[in-house]
C-alpha cells in the first residue's frame, strides 16, 4: 500500500505544476505552451522586469484563492519568489501542511 500515496503525490504534484504554470501565464499574459516550458531554475521575481512587487502580491493572493492556502508574511522570502522551482516547493509544502 505504500506505493499508492506516492502515486497520489506525483499526481498531485502534476496538478499543482499545471495550476501554478497556468497562474503565472495569467499574470504574465503568456500562452499556456510558453508557461509549460518553465523549469525549476526559470527566474521569476528579480528576473522578469514586468513582474514587480505589485504583480507578485497579486500572484500570491491568487495562489491563496486557487489553491486554498493562506500565505503569511513570514512565509514570503526572496528564495521562494526567485525561481519557479522555489515557488513550486513552497506551494507544495503549504498544501502538505493544510
Amino acid at each position: 500500500m505504500n506505493t499508492i500515496p506516492t502515486i497520489q503525490n506525483e499526481a498531485g504534484a502534476t496538478v499543482l505544476d499545471s495550476e501554478l504554470k497556468g497562474l503565472i501565464a495569467d499574470v504574465l499574459g503568456l500562452d499556456p505552451a510558453q508557461a509549460a516550458t518553465f523549469g525549476p531554475d526559470s527566474g521569476l521575481f528579480g528576473h522578469l522586469p514586468e513582474l514587480d512587487s505589485m504583480a507578485v502580491a497579486g500572484l500570491l493572493t491568487e495562489m491563496e484563492d486557487r489553491l486554498g492556502i493562506v500565505i503569511e508574511d513570514d512565509d514570503v522570502s526572496g528564495e521562494m519568489l526567485e525561481t519557479y522551482g522555489g515557488l513550486f516547493a513552497f506551494a507544495k509544502a503549504k498544501l502538505a501542511d493544510r
Partner: protein, 221 residues
C-alpha cells in the same frame, strides 16, 4: 465630494446620447484601475453601440484629480458616486472590483469580480513588504498597519490617509436589492487585473457587455 463634504470636480469619460439606459461605472481602484482602464472603456464603447449611455468619473485624488490623495475617505468617495449618479441621471450601476465598495445602493446593477476592502489592503501591504525586502529592508505588515491607522501609508505609490486605511479594514461591497454578481468565470479567462502589465482581451469585453445589455433588454419597460 471632498473630505469635508465639499464637491470636487473630476474628469469624466462619458458616452452620453440622452438614452433611457444610463450606466454609472464605479471603477477599480489604484493599481487595478490602471490595469483595467482600457478594459473598462472598451466595455463602455460596446455598450454605446448597444444603445446604452455610460459614465466613468475619476475618483477624487486619483488620475488627474486636483484633490489631495491623502485626504480621501471611503464615505467621501461614496458621497461622490452618489452625487455623480444624481448628476448624470444614472439608471444602473456597474461596479468593477473595489468599485463595489462605492455603489449607490438605490441603483440596480452589477458587481463585476467584487473585491473587499481588507483584500485590497492586504494585497497592497504585501506588495510593499515584498518591495522592502527586495531593497534589503525588513517591514512587517502588522507594524505597517499600525502606522497606517495613525498616520496613513504610501502603498504602491498611492497615498492612503489614516481614515481611508481604517475605513478599508472593514469595508465590504455595498449589496442591495437589484444588485447581481458577475464572477470572472462568467466573463472567461483570467481577470485583467492579474496581469503584470495592462493588457486587453476583446472576448472578455464582449462577454461582460453581453451580460449587461442582455439583462437590461430583459428588464426594459
Amino acid at each position: 465630494m471632498g473630505p469635508e463634504g465639499t464637491t470636487t470636480e473630476e474628469l469624466l469619460v462619458a458616452f452620453d446620447r440622452g438614452r433611457t439606459r444610463r450606466l454609472l461605472v464605479c471603477p477599480a481602484w489604484f493599481d487595478e484601475a490602471n490595469k483595467l482602464r482600457r478594459f473598462t472603456v472598451e466595455v463602455m464603447r460596446r455598450l454605446d453601440n448597444a444603445g446604452i449611455d455610460s459614465f466613468l468619473p475619476d475618483l477624487p485624488g486619483c488620475n488627474d484629480s486636483l484633490a489631495p490623495a491623502a485626504l480621501q475617505t471611503l464615505p467621501g468617495w461614496r458621497a461622490g458616486m452618489e452625487a455623480a449618479a444624481h448628476k448624470f441621471g444614472a439608471t444602473n450601476v456597474l461596479a468593477i472590483r473595489a468599485g463595489a465598495l462605492l455603489v449607490p445602493a438605490h441603483l440596480p446593477g452589477w458587481h463585476y469580480a467584487a473585491q473587499s476592502g481588507p483584500k485590497l489592503l492586504r494585497g497592497m501591504i504585501r506588495a510593499r513588504t515584498i518591495a522592502a525586502r527586495e531593497a534589503g529592508l525588513e517591514e512587517q505588515a502588522d507594524t505597517l498597519m499600525a502606522l497606517g491607522r495613525s498616520e496613513g501609508l504610501v502603498l504602491g505609490g498611492w497615498q492612503l490617509g489614516a481614515a481611508m486605511i481604517r475605513d478599508l479594514e472593514t469595508a465590504e461591497p455595498v449589496r442591495a436589492q437589484g444588485h447581481s454578481d458577475i464572477a470572472q468565470s462568467q466573463v472567461g479567462g483570467p481577470g485583467m487585473w492579474l496581469r503584470a502589465e495592462p493588457d486587453e482581451d476583446a472576448k472578455q469585453v464582449d462577454a461582460l457587455t453581453a451580460i449587461i445589455s442582455d439583462d437590461l433588454s430583459g428588464t426594459s419597460a
